[in-house]
């Protein structure tokens, strides 16, 4: 470390700038700055920009994919809703159809019942009519029979006559089933 030729600069205060060093410092820094701003920084910035573009491109792609997925989901949801609506509509239709069928069946049944009723009523009426005719013929016959019997007995004896009538009526009651009432027929 020693053995250096003594010079006024060897023991100057260290905060006195050495002119040559100062100039060298400025020039060297100027060269460095020029190189850095001409080549180094632009290259770094280019890569930064490219990387940003790549990243942003990736983001854009991801966004597009997301949008597509959203659209697909919307479409799916829409078609699902549509299907649900369709199903509801079909159900409603089926229900109304069922109702129509049931109503139709009911009406038909009622109609059939009414027809049966009508027919039975007619039949009944016919039976009543025939019963009536039969009855009147019978009554006539019986009346004749009774009359002939009454006539055949002693007409003066009213007691006997009454008894004859009573007996006849009792006969009648025996002949006819008990409690059988003839429905009212209409002529």
């Amino acid at each position: 470390m020693t053995g250096i030729a003594a010079s006024p600069w060897s023991d100057k205060a260290p905060i006195i700038p050495h002119p040559a060093e100062f100039i060298v410092g400025l020039l060297a820094f100027a060269v460095l700055y020029w190189a850095v701003q001409k080549w180094v920084v632009p290259q770094f910035e280019k890569v930064y920009a490219e990387r940003t573009a790549a990243i942003e491109g990736g983001i854009a792609r991801a966004e597009q994919a997301q949008a597509e997925a959203d659209a697909a989901r919307e479409q799916y949801t829409a078609s699902l809703a549509e299907a649900r609506g369709e199903a509801a509509r079909i159900r409603a239709e089926a229900q109304s159809e069922r109702k129509a069928i049931v109503d139709g069946a009911r009406a038909e049944a009622e109609e059939a019942a009414a027809r049966v009723q009508e027919r039975s009523a007619a039949q009944l009426a016919a039976e009543v009519a025939s019963a009536r005719g039969q009855l009147s013929r019978e009554v006539g016959r019986l009346s004749v029979e009774l009359a002939s019997r009454i006539v055949g007995e002693n007409l003066a004896d009213t007691d006997a006559t009454r008894r004859t009538v009573d007996r006849f009526l009792a006969d009648l009651e025996e002949r006819a089933p008990a409690g059988a009432e003839l429905p009212e027929g209409q002529h």
Partner: protein
């Protein structure tokens, strides 16, 4: 005890200012010194490396590119964008990046074998860099606000009345004198003192082991010998930190000149 022994031992010359004066050619004010040669070599190596690395940058970085980009990002985003603001920081990135890389390389070369000389321990180099920063931040401020408004802007908003004049004077001194001087001296002082310290440990250990004829000193020389390693590691920390601080302050001064509020 060892201090006493050291003091009493004849022949040990503590390292001093003269160790930093190493002319290679010539003598006096225009001598080509060791520091100048190291500076020129630093710039040559730095430009070569940076251009070589950035020539073939790829989207997916290699390991070398990753390191270079890490350094660049630290300056570009960590200092430039953070401090100057994203609006117009890009103009100053080349300056900040040049400052950071040349100071970092010069400083680290101080502990690299065969170079082992801190360029920045010669005040001329920090002064040159400081002059650049000084000119830039004043130029930017005056161009941005105009001469009158630039100097008006030195007084913080809200200062009124009798305080304006003294505050203005203080701020003017800060702006024109304190800032550049401290910027240069901080870097210079750290490198100078660090190098002296290393020299002291190394020459001290060497002296105690080889020159001194005392067994005690021979044994004790282990202390400064190990100390030299510890101090070298510590120097590395200081060197990186000082490069960062210099660049950070340059960015702060530029940001202050650009900002509307002082």
């Amino acid at each position: 005890m060892s201090a006493q022994l050291l003091a009493s031992a004849p022949g040990f010359e503590a390292p001093g200012v003269e160790d930093f004066w190493q002319p290679f050619a010539g003598d006096g004010a225009w001598a080509l010194t060791r520091a100048s040669i190291v500076m020129v070599l630093s710039v040559v190596v730095l430009v070569a490396v940076l251009v070589a690395v950035t020539r073939k940058l790829t989207l997916v970085p290699s390991r070398t590119q990753f390191m270079a980009e890490g350094t660049y990002s630290l300056v570009r985003n960590g200092l430039g964008r953070e401090i100057i603001g994203s609006h117009d920081f890009l103009r100053f990135v080349p300056l900040l990046f040049s400052l950071f890389t040349i100071i970092l390389l010069s400083n680290v070369l101080a502990i690299v074998p065969f170079v082992q000389f801190p360029t920045m321990s010669r005040i001329g180099f920090p002064a040159a860099l400081t002059l650049v920063v000084f000119v830039v931040y004043h130029f930017v401020g005056i161009k941005n606000k105009g001469v009158v408004n630039y100097f008006k802007g030195l007084v913080p908003a809200g200062v009124t009345g009798a305080l304006v004049v003294p505050i203005f004077l203080l701020e003017l001194i800060t702006d024109l004198f304190t800032r550049p001087v401290t910027l240069a001296l901080r870097l210079f002082g750290n490198m100078f003192a660090g190098h002296i310290l290393l020299l002291l440990f190394v020459t001290g250990a060497d002296y105690m082991l080889r020159t001194a004829d005392s067994g005690v000193l021979h044994v004790l020389s282990v202390g400064p010998f190990l100390g030299a390693f510890v101090m070298t590691a510590f120097e590395l920390l200081v060197e990186v930190l000082q490069a960062y601080i210099f660049t950070l302050l340059a960015a702060l001064y530029i940001a202050g000149s650009l900002a509307d509020e002082h």
